[in-house]
């Protein structure tokens, strides 16, 4: 029995400890937003946050997340209460087929959390493990940079008020 926190809730599973986190989340906990693309940590479609770091979960056994905080796209924001990246993603019509976008957004959210004002090179470095077969890279990059800029401006305005 392995216990971890999934989107703020404590969960337990008796899935084999070697089962990759992705499949436990999809098949056992029925959260389907995180995707399977390569099974080899090469495409990023399965990206979740483990504690605050973006991790590939298609290879990561659940034994490695015992006691840790796992956040999936479902825990980042919802249709009614989107994360600022998700709102911006919609406004810029970033997705095409959309299959990679959960992973893209989770990778982007982790980047902005650790580096609120990334350069273009920072975004390239953080996002180049996430494949988009439809080729939405320009919009993904532009949207991340815009959100970073807006949130910096927002924070500066808040500070001025205070």
């Amino acid at each position: 029995m392995i216990e971890f926190t999934l989107n703020g809730q404590t969960v337990r599973t008796d899935d084999d400890p070697s089962t990759p986190l992705l499949w436990v989340v999809r098949d056992t906990f029925k959260l389907k937003g995180s995707k399977f693309g390569c099974g080899a940590g090469l495409c990023g479609a399965c990206t979740m946050h483990i504690d605050d770091a973006a991790m590939r979960t298609c290879l990561m056994p659940i034994s490695a997340v015992a006691g840790r905080q796992v956040t999936t796209i479902e825990g980042l924001g919802t249709l009614d209460n989107m994360h600022p990246l998700q709102t911006a993603w919609v406004e810029a019509s970033v997705p095409q087929c959309g299959y990679c976008q959960s992973g893209q957004i989770m990778a982007a959210a982790a980047l902005l959390k650790s580096n609120p004002s990334p350069t273009e090179a920072d975004v390239d470095a953080a996002m180049s493990g996430n494949i988009c077969r439809c080729g939405c890279y320009g919009r993904i990059k532009g949207t991340i940079l815009n959100v970073a800029q807006q949130s910096l401006a927002h924070n500066a305005a808040q500070e001025q008020k205070a």
């Binding site: 479902e74 019509s93 996002m127």
Partner: protein, 732 residues
Amino acid sequence: MSAMNMSRRQFLKTTGILGGGLVIGFSITGCSSNELPIRLAPQGFVPNAFLQITPDNGIRFYCPRDEMGQGVTTGLGTLIGEELDVHPKNMEILFAGVHSDYKNPDFGVQGTGGSSSLKAHYLQLRQVGANTRGLLVAAAAQDLGVAASAITTHDGHIVVAGKRYPYGQFVQTAATLEAPTEAPLKSNAEFRYIGQAFARVDAAAKSTGTAEFGIDIDIPNMHHAVVRRSPVAGAKLKSVDKTAALSMPGVTDVIEISSGVAVVAEKYWQAKTAAAKLAPVWAEVALSQVNSSDIRADYHRAMQQDEGVVDTDEGDIEAGLATADHIVEAEYWAPFLAHAPLEPMNAVVRIENGEADVWSGTQGIVAAQGLVSRFSGIPLEKVRAHNTYLGGAFGRRGTLTHVIETTEVAVASNKPIHLLWSREDDIQNGVYRPASLMKIKAGVKNDGSITAWQAKRVGGNITPKTLQNMMPALFPGLNDGTIDFMVGLSRDVFAGWMVDHASVEGLYEDYDTDNKTVNHVTVEHDIPLTFWRSVGHSYTSFAKEGITDELAEKAGMDPVAFRLRNTQGNPRLNNVIRVAQQHMLAMQPAEGRFLGFAAHHSFATDVAEIAEVSVVGKTIRVHKVTCIVDCGIAVNPDIVRAQMEGSVMFGLTAALYGDLELAQGAFQQSNFHDYPILKMREAPQVEVIIIDSGTAPTGVGEPGLPPIAPAVASAVYQATGQRLRSLPLKIA
């Protein structure tokens, strides 16, 4: 009268009347297959196959084409919404099930591809929208006691003297009236939604993980299946020891199926782990002896020795060559490629009480229905086929062997089955873009006119294999023998009598010349082939544009001016090149960067691309691509831009990396480490310029791809002096 108790006769009358126009072509035979696969809402009104309107003003649009990223739900929603006067964002857009009314008007079957959707449905869905609006206006006139001429409409509302009434208020009356069949369509100047760059309607679902793809389907008691297949296409299972897999946790069945051996378990990872324990032994087939070097050698031999089949023979090629001041001749190579959509192939099949359901993201849901019927023995009308979002397709999801596999496993295991391919399965057991060896010999005068164009292509054809895949699906009643006969016939016809047009399309059409021949030599090695984004154009553009650069150089002309000179017979392409030239002249590439140009006509659309490239050592880096496109009316200009951006990236992956190598009949690449996809850090900035047009829309999903490889190759030549004639591009 509510739709729930609407009599069948009234229902058919309503649909028949609305659909009576030529462009819609409803059949009202009254047979059971004519029932619309629409779930009626309480009091819902279904005026035709495409719409349901509820009293609370819910407006549902049943989108007849498949959403694989190209934005078809937004695009087709815009067409019907324009004339119905409803913003697509205020519709609930659902994927249509199987029904003859949902046929692609260009294909005659329910299929999505060939960059056809907006072109094919442009008038049809607008007419349906206009007729339905006309019906609602008539109902409102009756209910409100005003003249129809006093009514206008706005975004789902009837408007009378400034007061707004939701459409839903009039559906009960509308159901009793006859709808117009040829309600007038808006002029371009009246468009409210067509031409506007609003956000895609599926962006929110796709940004929150809530868009449902085939892989996400989860039904009660569903079991998971993983299949082991031969690494060599077509090789059958000889033997397998099932013991080790059967003893693994969660495993319920190990089943031999037509493509190999399937392991069924309660969960995917259990099936996956158990399948790895199997050591199946495969029979040998002719392909088992074939290596990549054999294919290249066979193609070269055919190029030199076989005349092949004549596709085009205009003017006098020898006379044309004789009058040339310069002759160029070169061979071009393009490899086999996998599509590698990010969502691997999958399907869910449930068979219960003599009925079946199939869920899968396909480019032709009718084919999924046909295959389930054929391989389960359940009559077609008892198979419900449900489409989902497609996690990329690019031509790959027209071949549905995974639906056959899922059906076979569901029948044999007597369980609802979710079957999923791995990435390795996708790259090694798929259907492929054919490899091609192309040769063009052309003559040019010093004044820049092309005197002769002699083209030849050697390779496999996609049509026979596509027939083999599609016929069992589209004609479930045809027996295997008949299908084998017809597939064999098509193979023979294309090898010896006529040219499969997809094999040579784009190799010769774009530039003016009086003397032109195109020959084709079919050489097959039993590798399954199919459409791959932009099909023949994906490789022919590389040869055609490459030789054009060489002709320009011989004539001492700028390559863009040369193309302008030689597109007098092709005014729209000429205009695109002219606009591109203006942009190119204004560009000032930094030191070490070079501009390459290419243009191509495909899917009725004209595209020119300018690639800004640097070469450092052996690395080709594409910094920026400027894309000029004329696709008629851009129904949603932002989606046109997105498709051009995406086509450039897809084409760059092929231009820079795409290669599959065959050893003893098995493809050697297996995953994204050795079959790489362009990454963000390698992706160029893409600027898209859309030519303003008032003519009907033409293709958008594919035409952005063909020019990119030759544009990059052209820039590489300027940077290095090397003419690269083989894909992927490698600096010598």
